[in-house]
Amino acid sequence: MSFDPGTIAAFVDGELDDLTARRIERAVESDAALAAEIARYRALTAKLSAHFAPVAEEVVPERLRALLVEPGVDTSLAARRHAKRGSFAPVHWGAIAASLVLGLTIGLRPWAPAADIASVNGRLVASGALADALETQLASDQLANAEIRIGLSFRDKQGRACRSFEARDLSGIGCRDGGHWALERTIGGRASQEYRQASSGELLTAAAAMMAGDPFDVAAERAARDSGWRN
């Protein structure tokens, strides 16, 4: 084995330059000890990710949320809220009424798919921004305020790449299937009552039941994306 532990670690962590990474990939083909060492590193990352992932799926305790969403905790925030309430002009009520009507209209037209979902051959698939996020976004490299957040990526028992996601209107699990991201599981989005009531651990439980092996670690997620999520 001709690579030192630091280089192997950097390879597994996705920190190597392309040239060295390719040298390692080539060496792995004929070096069983190196392959085993890389597998050992990856197994640890996967084990740790899987162990801590459920924490991020838990419902955030109210005492923490309340610090940020309840008035009266932070004076500057409370003051701003107060100012806002005072300047609530009729035009705002108009906007609210309009959005209610719009909401009802959407609710009454179930055949009109919400954005980001399409139907292909009778199956629900991701489209638009959701399809883009599932295709390209890495859980390890997404903005804290990303519209769509990717959670776990893994292979299901059919060998498909699957990814859990969370967005304002929809959360669920999409699996790469025949050029689409088939929506295997959906619950409401962050903004919905359903989502807040369902423990968001539900998605994780669903993912765990679908999973063959461990969820992807940082490097495996990147590698799967770079190879186009092929089986």
């Binding site: 630091g6 640890l44 740790l48 990710s49 924490v55 923490l64 804290a144």
Partner: protein
């Protein structure tokens, strides 16, 4: 997006990070609470356009380290880089037995603080070495050597049991 809203979005990840540092769920949430309170107080110090998550992780980590050091001075814990005595206060035998069973929490608790935080940031939170170094305000070389030692210790303890 408003500052508070961004923080709310960040909470699930922050709780995960805190859980890795503080081990017990209630201690971890206390840590998050302290971090949020400090962030709200010092929000002027956050530069718009820079990553809020890195800033929050740094605050959280600094509060945790301060607490660990204060606890150490009070005699509950040994100095920060002495892993073996450090866990004595948490029940060394219990921790050791857990680690042998392949218990990730117990294995993490055996790590010195400065290795544990690096392991969490890079292997769990998925930060690049450079980003982790910026959060911890140490050179990259320090991050990689702590990561190497932490990783080796974890693989040693968890490897056979995994």
């Amino acid at each position: 997006m408003r500052f508070e809203e961004e923080l709310v979005e960040l909470l699930p990840r922050l709780r995960r990070f805190a859980r890795g540092l503080a081990r017990h769920a209630s201690d971890a949430d206390d840590l998050c609470q302290a971090a949020i309170e400090r962030a709200l107080k010092s929000r002027d110090q956050w530069q718009q356009g820079t990553k809020l998550d890195s800033w929050m992780y740094r605050i959280t980590r600094n509060i945790w380290i301060d607490e660990r050091r204060a606890a150490g001075r009070r005699g509950f814990h040994a100095p920060i880089d002495d892993a073996v005595t450090q866990v004595a206060g948490e029940g060394a035998a219990e921790v050791e037995a857990g680690a042998l069973r392949g218990d990730v929490d117990a294995a993490m608790a055996q790590l010195p603080d400065e290795q544990r935080e690096v392991v969490m940031l890079i292997l769990v939170e998925g930060y690049a070495y450079r980003e982790a170094a910026a959060i911890l305000e140490v050179p990259i070389g320090t991050v990689t050597s702590r990561l190497a030692r932490g990783r080796e210790a974890l693989m040693h303890v968890l490897g056979e049991a995994a």
